[in-house]
């Protein structure tokens, strides 16, 4: 099966841009503005959106490369992308090290003697830094890129299979997911435990995104408009919202029947709980129902900032992580009151938009430049 559409679906960029904004807001610790983000109102969060759309665009971009230039060239491009993400991750780790070193030397509140144990890992950088380079040591909020690297590293053969036997590839992905749950497979982390985002679980969403890009979405489209499905999705979102409210108002916890509690908890993010997948799918169904591909408002200027952020997802993601560190720094050093939360959140998003606009401009200039536009065919539809 070949990539069906040659026109890039703007909805993908729009919602990936939105996911990037939400991830940025969620990554600033104690940010009051993050109460706007979807993780507080249901089971899934922006990570699901990001992984699904990344799978979709990876199949879209590298699927075409595989069709036109063959398996070897496409695989090389996928791995080059994985390498770029690895370099970006190491760059962010360096910034993280700087932050933790600063905190370790500037903060000595007697209330927090235990928490100052974070300094310990500065004591043996020989181990910590090597473990970080091996992707085994991953500081807080730096788990998404290693997941992305792992998913891309194994993507070429999956894509090859997806283009020949899409159903078999999707079933294989689901079987791997099921086996992972049965045998509790994960990749070990340093110093203890396992990866926060288990690639063997999250691959399902990535492969499902790729499957949708390669024609699956078209096959599904007649079911997606069915009123029964949309009603079920809406009902599930309401259920998830009600459960989420009991997290903030423990008194309502008593209203949840015991068997429901036992059935749903714990909702496992590491291994991409089925409840989270269903929540993401419900969100997607509702979104597709109300925002069709030819939705006229997609070309409105007001959505342009989101779309350009989504088109440069790796750069904007990394910038978002950096800005969330910087925002946390502003909270600790300048002010942590509500107005500052709003200022930091708005300024961060403005910087992300500015950077995305700059990248778009740079790309246009590059294309017009001395090199012929054919120099970068794989990126014609934007970055994966």
């Amino acid at each position: 099966m070949a990539p069906v559409s040659t026109e890039r679906d703007l909805r993908l960029d729009l919602f990936r841009g939105l996911a990037l904004w939400l991830i940025f807001l969620d990554h600033i610790p104690s940010n009051a503005v993050s109460w706007l983000t979807i993780r507080n109102y249901g089971f899934s969060d922006a990570t699901e959106i990001f992984v699904f759309i990344s799978g979709y665009t990876a199949a879209f971009v590298y699927g075409r490369a595989m069709q036109e230039h063959g398996f070897v060239v496409a695989s090389a491009r996928v791995l080059k992308r994985a390498w770029q993400i690895y370099v970006a991750h190491v760059f962010l780790f360096a910034i993280y090290l700087a932050e933790i070193a600063y905190v370790a030397h500037s903060f000595d509140n007697p209330l927090y003697t235990e928490e100052m144990g974070v300094r310990d890992f500065l004591a043996n950088p020989d181990v910590t830094i090597i473990q970080a380079l091996l992707l085994k040591f991953k500081p807080v909020n730096m788990d998404v890129l290693p997941l992305y690297i792992a998913l891309l590293a194994g993507f070429a053969p999956v894509l090859w299979l997806l283009m020949r036997a899409p159903s078999i590839a999707l079933i294989a992905s689901a079987v791997l997911y099921a086996l992972m749950w049965k045998f509790e497979w994960n990749i070990p982390a340093y110093p203890h435990g396992a990866w926060v985002f288990n690639p063997l679980a999250w691959q399902l969403l990535f492969v499902f995104g790729a499957w949708c890009a390669l024609g699956g979405a078209k096959n599904l489209s007649r079911y997606l408009q069915s009123r029964v499905l949309v009603t079920l999705a809406a009902a599930y979102l309401v259920f998830a919202f009600a459960i989420a409210m009991t997290w903030y108002f423990p008194r309502f916890g008593g209203l949840v029947p015991k068997f429901v509690g036992e059935l749903i908890y714990p909702i496992d993010k590491t291994n991409l709980d089925v409840l989270r997948i269903l929540h993401f799918l419900s969100l997607a169904i509702i979104t597709i129902y109300f925002v069709p591909v030819d939705w006229p408002y997609l070309r409105l200027r007001i959505f342009k900032p989101l779309i350009i952020c989504g088109q440069h997802s790796l750069e904007i993601f990394c910038l978002g992580v950096f800005l969330s560190f910087a925002g946390h720094f502003v909270f600790t050093e300048v002010s942590n009151r509500l107005p500052m939360h709003v200022i930091v959140s708005v300024a961060g998003i403005a910087i992300m938009i500015g950077a995305a606009a700059l990248l778009s401009w740079y790309k246009r200039v590059e294309r017009k430049g001395p090199r012929p536009p054919a120099a970068k065919p794989g990126y014609a539809g934007g970055d994966a």
């Binding site: 610790p29 104690s30 009051a32 109460w35 993780r39 507080n40 969060d45 932050e99 933790i100 905190v103 500037s106 903060f107 000595d108 509140n109 007697p110 209330l111 927090y112 003697t113 235990e114 928490e115 100052m116 144990g117 974070v118 310990d120 500081p139 807080v140 909020n141 982390a189 340093y190 110093p191 203890h192 435990g193 396992a194 926060v196 997290w247 903030y248 108002f249 423990p250 008194r251 916890g253 008593g254 949840v256 015991k258 509690g261 908890y265 714990p266 993010k269 590491t270 969330s324 560190f325 946390h328 909270f331 600790t332 942590n336 009151r337 509500l338």
Partner: protein, 254 residues
């Protein structure tokens, strides 16, 4: 995901009436977090001990259960808890013993637990844990298993259990992944029907409302002492509320 109480929603919530004692017994700054101190599960052994006029409590914890300095032991929350309980339970001999030392994971505390329980024979074990496990990245399953084991050990020694979760520490929030450990503790508490003292949520609310400035780089002890005093008082409220024989919380998850 770290579950936190949204500021606005928190402000909209009605003030929960103080369950134990008149409100003026509280330091004003503690009072804003009263509604977060809600016991969903009863403490029958404590109720029995109060009836018998002798209440022995054991606090086992790590570095955040004590304060540095020569007066640290007297101003840390275990001692403040004892003072608050003694005041509210006239005629009852309240004694709080502690086994507190820094850098211990839940599993390490479980190892120390049998000897501690044998030595103090408490009616109540207050178990503060989670921070060190998060710092070291202990496996979630192992953490949950350690909690289960500790609770079962205490119960078979005839003690009720209250879990106390990690402190809210905004400066190190981007460095210590507390979220899943806090959630895990909440989950184990519900499963085991053990009250959880949500120290994290309470301190977060104090921070949101400006009661305390936990971002402060101060090296002085005064704020830390006030925080521990408040935690001791609120912990006393929780214990008394859960030990009330007539009102074992109608809204609790059973």
């Amino acid at each position: 995901m770290i579950r936190r109480l949204p500021l606005l929603l928190a402000l909209m919530m009605p003030a929960w009436p103080a369950v134990a004692g008149p409100a003026d017994e509280h330091a004003a700054e503690c009072r804003v977090a009263e509604h977060l101190v809600e016991s969903t599960f009863p403490l029958p052994q404590v109720a029995r001990a109060i009836a018998a006029k002798k209440l022995d409590i054991l606090v086992i914890g790590a570095g955040s259960s004590r304060l540095p300095g020569p007066g640290g032991a007297k101003s840390a929350y275990p001692a403040r808890l004892q003072a608050a309980l003694a005041k509210k339970l006239p005629g009852v001999a309240v004694a709080v013993a502690t086994d507190v030392s820094s850098r211990r994971t839940a599993a390490q505390m479980v190892e120390a637990l049998p000897a501690d329980l044998a030595a103090t024979k408490p009616a109540l074990l207050i178990w503060q844990t989670g921070t060190v496990d998060a710092l070291r990245g202990v496996d979630q399953d192992q953490f949950a298993q350690a909690l289960d084991k500790g609770i079962n050990t205490a119960r078979s020694a005839g003690a009720d259990v209250v879990l106390v979760n990690a402190q809210y520490s905004p400066r190190t929030e981007s460095m210590i992944a507390l979220g899943s450990y806090t959630e895990n503790m909440r989950w184990v508490a519900v499963q085991q029907e053990v009250p959880l003292f949500d120290r994290f949520g309470i301190m977060k609310l104090w921070s949101d409302l400006g009661t305390f400035d936990f971002y402060s780089p101060t090296k002085k002890l005064d704020m830390a002492e006030r925080v521990h005093d408040c935690i001791g008082r609120l912990l006393a409220d929780l214990v008394l509320q859960a030990a009330k024989p007539e009102s074992p919380s109608p809204t609790g998850i059973r």
